[in-house]
Symmetry: C3
Subunit: 351 residues, 3 copies
């Protein structure tokens, strides 16, 4: 369950410059503060430089500029955080699924399942689905009719794909995620809601990750579309016909309403909510819990919400805020009255 | 997987006035902009009228007043959006579950399961549950003891009903929804939380829809109650003993705290949160991400939250807002001082 | 499914002083308003004292001071709400799982499963997992490699534990919860996100409860840690390496970002969001939907957000709030101008 890898091998794997013994054995990863004498650590954020000198780590991934700060072995790389990301997989205790189809799985006769896949217990694969080479589908998954999963995909146990969900290569989907659910489409007629069949599908690019218990609804007419390299955290809601551009990332608890389009290389922090039918351009960063009610056409960072206060102060602020319109009118009035009685020259005295 | 239906049949089904060939074959639905020459489209929102003239659609559902705007075939109806909702089901590629009980399903001896149902693979139905005629229960569902599902219900794969959940007719429940979970009931005694058994159930009316990964907790003592025609989107939390009136709809990520009652024909937009033990009257609309901390007794539209700004502007606003109470006091003071030195007649010069 | 217990037995179980017949049979629990003549009720909150005199309850749990207010049988206890919590379990209609392993379960040869457990249908238990005495694992659960579940744990149907999740004694986990999912760890290199393996696990204390569809991610390096007695409601997101102190409770829809530490005996109301890498000290209460962007070092109650208004008023408030920085500057300016033209003595006339 835990790998042991020699430092020389790690240097080779990373193309790093090793200062220390090639034969030293590394058994795992840890932070500078917590690493023990057989663990590899890394220094990426300058804030943590103070922990370098005292670290018990067997070796540290770091930049050339920091190499002198550590007495032990060092692996000098251009980007220590990326190097850490790369070696992390070598020490991952995640069990590797055995190749093959668990005998309890229920697979439609006309499903196309590559011989190199791993299909877990009690998984159901429906008619005309296509599972490509190297794919792992965990236990308790449901793969609907005509779904496609590209090569080297990894589905945790208990992932549900409704019918007609097409997924690119190397896509990772965590437990509880539901892709292709029927979006919230209803026509209101005299106060009664009439369901609209959601006849579109979902199209997911390559190298996408979808988090725990996240929902991506199928399209109402056309497909819901998730671009390449998109990273979607846990507990997220993506409504029908949303389109997400390549390499956009969003943290947990985000909610995106129907038909909204998000550009490439955007970042949505946790708990952000977007109304439907708006466009967010490329390279937008939205801070946590922001309420986005209109399109964003300029790259940049956007926010909403109020700062936390003690409840006693907050109650006063909230009460005053309810009256801010009247405050603004009163301010205008008092300005006018002052204007009337003071020489206008004073107006510029402020700045 | 795709239906082909003649235009004449569609006109008949809808009671629409057809202007065009009865024999034209329709294979699907699309928006005015995206429809191809074998697809039906619709014009419901006047905003999209501009796309009518150039649409490639085989035919368009529209109102009489718009019929002249399209050169191709038209189906004139009173309510094009409702008509679209109705025909959408004819073109739905969703696989129809085969009647019967999958041999892998585990069904209690004393469960009453109608002969016309469809029960998916690996589904568990517990003691004394009752599944009515025409019900579809997808794979991996769990139907607890004494649950009842009314006629023509449709449960997606992987829906969990704890024991004593009673569901009306034609109810749709999407994947990952959990109905009847044990609500958050604890008595705090000297800093330690003691669990309170949740002995109530859940009662769900007819024609309800419940979205992906939504949770509806069972009652602590009496039942949690969802009225007829209620539509509940994805990722929603409905706590114990909530009551929701008929034909109310709520979009994704809403959270409703315990014992809160919501009236009929309300609409809650995405991300709205309600505290517990409050009453919302009928015909209330609450905009997205609003924080509802007290009862609402008048129909109307309600909101909270702040508008999005650039992060730089927002930081200034948020800092100022923290001091709004002091601003209000300073404004009052300056008003008084101005009052003291200017003739009172000026006070009315503003407006 | 419904218990019948004599009042004398209940008094004995609770150590309560019974005023009334020991032989009276109680068949369930209800509120003062709804209780029928065979049901037990309780008076804990003084607000409900008004319902006492007219209650049809067979008997009421109450404090000595309230005993005179009810003509029927009373069970006098020091803490009626705690007493209600304790007796609630006696009347819980929740089916008790039969001891044994369902024949459909798939259990690794080297898993250690105590003989006194109950394992539901279609549950998967992976290599080297350890299930202690008295544990119930519902149907459709997945227990990953090397997981440990302490004595008397109760997992609802459809709970997923990834590998290396260690759970203390008497822990309750509701349906749809996912423990040990791979947190949101990516290194960005030239605009592309590179996945970081999440090599830590999850460590959960004793007497913890985890709600429906809640996600607790595994640690990136070290473990994510949930203390003893922590109560976590539905639809919650707990990111990698979060640490939660003993006896803290959080209501539904809370989101906690990575590496944030929360103290003991805290309470987070519904929809609260916390950024990552902050510390919340012991005994902090955070009101609903608050956005927590920095550490809290003093016990107390904290809030953010704006009060709900009608949408018409809210639009005005929101527009004004966007300009609050300019308002503050204008206020300062008018104060200065007034200062310039009025005797400074006036300044103290206000307060």
């Amino acid at each position: 369950m835990t790998a042991t890898i020699k430092l020389g091998k790690l240097a080779e794997f990373l193309g790093a410059t090793l200062c220390g013994s090639k034969e030293k054995e590394i058994t795992g990863l840890a932070t500078l503060q917590e690493a023990g004498p057989a663990q590899l650590s890394f220094l990426a954020n300058p804030q943590y430089r103070k922990y370098l000198v005292g670290s018990q780590a067997a070796a540290v991934l770091l930049k050339a500029v920091d190499a002198d700060g550590f007495a032990g072995a060092t692996l000098v790389v251009a980007d220590p955080y990326l190097a850490y990301a790369r070696v992390s997989h070598l020490f991952d205790p995640k069990p590797k699924a055995a190749r093959g189809i668990h005998p309890s799985a229920v697979i439609a006769d006309d499903a196309q399942v590559d011989l190199t896949v791993s299909i877990g217990a009690f998984t159901v694969i429906e008619s005309s689905a296509r599972i490509s080479a190297g794919v792992t589908v965990g236990a308790h998954c449901f793969i609907g009719a005509r779904c496609e999963i590209g090569v080297d995909g990894w589905l945790a146990p208990r992932v549900t794909l409704y019918h007609d969900v097409r997924i690119g290569e190397r896509v990772v989907i965590q437990s509880g995620a539901v892709i292709g659910g029927e979006g919230f489409g209803f026509a209101n007629y005299k106060g009664i809601w009439h369901k609209i069949a959601q006849v579109g599908g979902v199209l997911i690019g390559d190298d996408v990750e979808i988090g725990v218990n996240t929902a991506v609804d199928r399209g109402a007419l056309a497909d819901t579309v998730i671009g390449n390299g998109v990273k979607i955290d846990n507990q997220i809601q993506i409504a029908h016909n949303v389109q997400i551009g390549d390499h956009t990332a969003m943290a947990a608890c985000v909610g995106i309403s129907g038909s909204t389009r998000i550009g490439k290389h955007c970042m949505l922090a946790g708990g952000v909510g977007l109304v439907g039918h708006i466009d967010i351009c490329d390279n937008v960063f939205i801070t946590g819990m922001t309420m986005v009610t209109h399109s964003i056409t300029e790259p940049g960072t956007y926010s909403s919400g109020t700062a936390m206060q003690t409840a006693a102060e907050w109650r006063k602020s909230a009460a005053r805020l309810r009256k801010i319109d009247s405050m603004a009118r009163r301010l205008r009035q008092v300005e006018k009255r002052v204007e009337d009685v003071t020489p206008s020259g004073n107006a510029s005295s402020e700045g």
